[in-house]
Symmetry: D2
Subunit: 236 residues, 4 copies
């Protein structure tokens, strides 16, 4: 694990952009898995003009790593966010977008393997320690891409219900820790004081299913990029 | 995880030899980590004449992955076994042998990283689920190479004491699960009926610190080779 | 370049089998390109029973690297030989066989790139120094997979015409040297006294378009396996 | 080969920085080979503040790829330029600098292999088509790192003599094309109208020892970054 502590969110986003663009500019098919949410927002702003309409980046394919299919919505939560934040603005060709869905989750690992595996994945960390949709309690560390039944017994149930309301799905879908270990380069970003405590637990505490991202320390090639605030609780 | 079930121990050993020799015959430095013990005995018999005095295998370097330094013995347990079973008979050059020891354990991960990382590692599994010297209860999954203090509270203490007697050391040394995830190809072999139960737990049960080898399912490129007896309790 | 000189053809074939099987037994999609002809005959005999009906080798995909479409024949020369010598006897699933043809040659490099690239390729060398169907005089070293027009001006025209007679095609198809450089591990085998002179030129002489295989020395991970006779003219 | 044509020298330098920094930020030893000269000047300006005193980049090691040991000078030409343009300003630790020299050229390939190989190399192209110190006429494509005797018969002799005067050395040292093929990612940069003609020959013409860089088209993972002027003579 390599931890990079940047001065601020802007520099964190610039460094993230360098890493992702560095992979993309190779002369080979490059499979990238990207995340939605707040942390990567500035990163997407930076790379969008550098990626949009660049024919020399036709070798780059994108994969999502989770999906929450809200009831009555044609497009899943992750797909919607990725299209709004990146695929749309950067005008990524549909042929280069590969989305995890309730229909393909059982074949998604094989699809990725048959494309040569994921070269790089960008992820965030939740305040509760989740990564992708590997949530506290419901995580089994040895899982590849799988379906997670949404049950009232899980500590995250009420929060999801509050957000989803009538659209609450019965299940969501995510790559598991075993899928993530196969990614050749894993990049975890986090910024802000509200992430400081969970980062201390995830990066410096023991491996614990209640803090799913604590397993990421085992990844063979993990780069963690934090701003000063997010890193403020770490020992070193 | 790929599981290969062979007819018998002989065929298991032949397949293991093919995999290791396949790596070694490349035109690059190849870093191999090998195990001692009963499971690889026939494997060593097979490869010794194919490796001995072969100048075209001067590119192959060997690393041990654990060491138990019995008191009053000049040579640690792992070193002694590896020299007796393989390095001696195969006449491996000293310059190509890199042994973990109490003196170098804090620098061993760096030494391996600076040599390009381990290409392949051959490991066995203990009846109690240990791998390398990651033993039940004393295992912290996110460890790289580390020292393990030998304490009476551990479930394996009495067994070790019975073996070691007056030579009982205060600590032993081992690569951890985080070191092992960095190995590019991990090969686990096991044979015999007495390994059937622990293999079921390790390969089909949840990740559990009391069964250290249960973490190996997360390795990005793991080949498990079993004979029919060792595989007899597996679901599939 | 690593040169392995084996006692005889049997040992050459065993070592070749170890290398290819070593690649295949990984827990990832493995893309293999294999050759037809005399040199690999014993190799195919060795691996056929080890590969046939092995579900744990469903991850292995096969690619041909050239094709000569004789007129009036439904099946090209390379396809015919590969099916007779290996795909048929080893009962390789059609879904795992990917054949270069006049119809797909312009897309073949992309197809391979989109499957993660070739992990290993086994090739032979012709008495005239050709590899794949890169023939003396008609070879342009920077070519990827391409069509070669069959013209009377080439030194190999008369020989091909003598073989092909009425079935003489207008063109054949082959991966070029630039395609081959992208293969992660290249394995060249040759046996017998009649190969000694061309091997000396190819392996120890300058890079020369009239000896196409002289370019193979630039491959980043090349293993050459010879028997004593084939190696007899080499300096070292 | 992937060709990227940037608007101008500034953007070319930014893209080059992204690629190099992308490699460096991994959690593994990263071996980088860099070039001196005019083309990378802006690139060095960009990366110097991003690299200087960054402890998280202690994993990055630098290798030079050629050396011209002028008589009577304590420091070779390449070393002098690299120190002035990058190693000095960026305060790279001496332990991370590995310089090719008359003393170590016979062991340099082995040193690199034993460190896991070069991950990325940045090169330029000379107006005469040279790369590294592989010059017209004196280049043998299958060479690894080697010594080049400076002889009056070579087309570049008079130019070098005019520059070197009394300090004219008897030989210089360079990695050869076979060394370069082993680099995992090769990045070639060129800017300005005066490079347009040679780039057309090198990138679109046949492989030719009189245009040494024409061999680079065979590299398995080559990214070429040009400004509009340097790209102006290319067909596409």
């Amino acid at each position: 694990m390599k931890i990079i502590i940047e001065e601020n969110y802007e520099q964190l986003s610039q460094t993230t952009a360098q890493i992702l663009l560095g992979h993309m500019h190779q002369d080979k098919r490059v499979n990238v898995s990207v995340t939605a949410g707040n942390s990567p927002k500035r990163f997407y702003e930076i790379i969008t003009p550098l990626v949009k309409n660049k024919t020399h980046l036709a070798n780059v394919h994108y994969y999502s790593f989770d999906e929450v299919p809200f009831k009555g919505e044609a497009v899943g939560m992750t797909e919607g966010l990725l299209r709004a934040e990146y695929f749309g603005p950067a005008e990524i060709a549909e042929s280069n977008i590969h989305l995890l869905s309730p229909d393909n989750y059982q074949k998604f690992d094989a699809e990725i393997a048959n494309a040569g595996g994921l070269d790089v994945m960008l992820i965030g960390i939740g305040g509760d320690g989740h990564f992708c949709a590997n949530m506290p309690d419901s995580t089994r560390f040895d899982a590849m891409t799988h379906k997670v039944d949404i049950l009232p017994e899980y500590p995250w149930y009420d929060g999801l219900k509050a957000d989803a309301g009538d659209k609450m799905p019965d299940a969501f879908y995510t790559m598991g820790a075993a899928s993530i270990m196969k990614v050749k380069h894993l990049v975890l970003i986090a910024n802000g004081k509200h992430k400081a405590d969970i980062l201390k637990k995830a990066l410096e505490g023991p491996v614990d299913p209640n803090i799913p991202s604590s397993i990421l320390k085992l990844h063979p090639n993990l780069t963690v990029i934090l701003d000063q605030e997010a890193a403020s609780a770490l020992d070193k």
